[in-house]
Symmetry: C2
Subunit: 348 residues, 2 copies
């Protein structure tokens, strides 16, 4: 068995309270401090956080429930959050719910039983019913990427509609009017928002959207491959496509390669997320870049403030909305140029 404070007390001849006080920054006589430290060394003592957690009713652990760890958008955010949280003594338990509502609820309940001090969730379940029980504990919840009706909590959002609108605006400026979109599942909030942005931009430009130009994928690579194949088949006149997450962007690039389509001469592309991948493409992809670092830091910051660790405790729910930006590559071509000169020069 591991050594306990009792062992240290026995060894040093001191009382339990003194040892505890030592560990919690209290005042301990120099002479005793040394004795305690010797005992710690010899007994290889390590605080038992389980016992401490039971007593203090705080586990110094934050639960994180996300749809998919194997998704660079998620994993970047997690890395960033963990950084901040750990530097304040908080651990994170990460639960990947595989974009499954049942697993999501299980994960939240699981974390509740583990008595995490707070919950960070990129929600899959629209209704928020998975958060009700946790919400009752009074412990803080921060949602990422969407607000949940009926659950009082803070949220860190991205302006997805504007993101999509800006991307499509860019294509319109380049003269494109037959613009396809590979968008996420209809029941996912961020996907709806991005689609809305697409419609808005088209409307502004006086373009009547054809249903055949809208492809609903499932945010995985395969969805991008099928998406581009489908769109190309259904819309021979299509000159540009906007893809709305990283995995499907990669899928689209795969599809374009495999179909032997020349990008951007035959098809202009704007992708999403992962600047590194965009740079690795040939020609480099123009993408919408989400502020993952900002999302991570904001989320962690809000959580820490709720936990009383840093800054003021906000009185009302906080909502932060962050903007995306477009990183210009060479995958967007002026519409019609191709036919005129067959060239492939950068245009931006």
């Amino acid at each position: 068995m591991a050594a306990t404070m009792k062992d240290i007390a026995r060894r040093t001849g001191l009382g339990l309270a003194t040892i505890s006080s030592y560990f919690n920054g209290g005042n301990v006589r120099e002479k005793n401090r040394i004795k305690i430290e010797e005992a710690i060394q010899e007994l290889h003592y390590e605080v038992n956080e389980v016992a401490r957690g039971l007593k203090t009713n705080a586990t110094k652990t934050i639960g994180v429930v996300i749809p998919e760890l194997n998704n660079i958008f998620c994993s970047e955010i997690i890395t960033g959050m963990e950084d901040v949280l750990r530097s304040h003594g908080y651990a994170t338990i990460i639960c990947d719910c595989r974009t499954d509502k049942t697993l999501e609820k299980e994960a939240v309940d699981f974390l509740m039983r583990k008595r995490v001090d707070g919950l960070i969730n990129m929600p899959v379940d629209t209704t928020g019913s998975h958060l009700e029980a946790f919400s009752r504990t009074g412990k803080p919840i921060v949602t990422i990427d969407r607000k949940i009706q009926g659950i009082v909590c803070d949220s860190v959002l991205v302006d997805n509609q504007k993101a999509a609108e800006n991307a499509v605006d860019l294509l319109v400026e380049r003269g494109h009017r037959d613009i396809g979109i590979i968008v996420g599942p209809g029941d996912i909030y961020t996907a709806q928002e991005r689609l809305k942005g697409y419609y808005t931009a088209c409307e502004k430009a006086g373009i009547k959207v054809k249903d055949s130009l809208v492809y609903h994928g499932d945010y995985i690579i395969k969805g991008g491959v099928s998406g581009i194949e489908e769109l190309v088949k259904r819309n021979p006149e299509m000159t540009a496509v906007f893809v709305t997450n990283y995995e499907m962007t990669m899928g689209t690039v795969i599809g374009i390669n495999e179909l032997g389509i020349h990008m951007p001469r035959e098809l202009s592309v704007i992708g999403f997320d992962n600047l590194e991948f965009a740079r690795a493409c040939s020609p480099q992809l123009t993408i919408v870049s989400q502020p993952t670092e900002g999302i991570a830091k904001e989320t962690a910051r809000i959580m820490l403030s709720r936990l009383g660790v840093e800054g003021e405790i906000p009185e009302t729910p906080v909502t932060v909305k962050l903007q995306t930006r477009i990183i210009t590559g060479r995958s967007v071509f002026p519409c019609g140029e191709a036919k005129r000169n067959g060239d492939c020069a950068e245009v931006s």
Copy 2:
């Protein structure tokens, strides 16, 4: 405050042991079972795993320490392990140590204080000194990707030397003799192994390796970019390059694009990991693919057996070595062909 078993006892008029028995699969009279379940509903009771953990000295939690969460090789393994472990009631606390030995030790100590039931580690520290303290607890440790001298534990390894050897063999078969390698840091075990495989294959082929053909990167994208720039500059005669992890493979592809080199006509490439990325490249990349799924399942399985959850408890340390395979794309070209016909057809 959350409801406790005591609250349920009071509400139902039953004793604590009966409630506990109910939760632990004991026999409870039908009538009482119903009363208990009603009370649970009304009080929104959830077991307190912290208290349970203190009592049973088992937290049903496994600690995982990896170099980098933002690395698809790691995140795929984690996803796979989590799947298995969670289905057996174990949670995982993941610590990303940013490939930093100090952080790695901190992470292990942190997990020890949290009293995790077992530790899974893809080690950064060669000496294994970060595992000594945990090792003393007698709780199981499973290392991934390398064995540690002096620490008695199970390991799941990949045959990295053979992986590299096979890749270089393939290039040799295609007639290449000026083969560059972009390899990881010299103090990383897997990197050493892969470099060894490169030397072995070259020796077999009677190729005298030039130092200028070996570039040590740091397993990140930027390392791949600099690596290929450097190699090309130093070795105008180089006709092929082998890149030894995913991030650097992506970097190499970026670099090749940016240098305007034609792959594979001017330079043949074999990359590493991430089949999806390989498919997204144009032309598709030939890569060495690691069995991430197998690593994940094996690691989880061994951990569970050590925990007495599944199968026999092995008497001696277990070491599993898994093989990689080569996924053929179109990025390897017969050496010299280019000059003869300038063509770019698939060769494999």
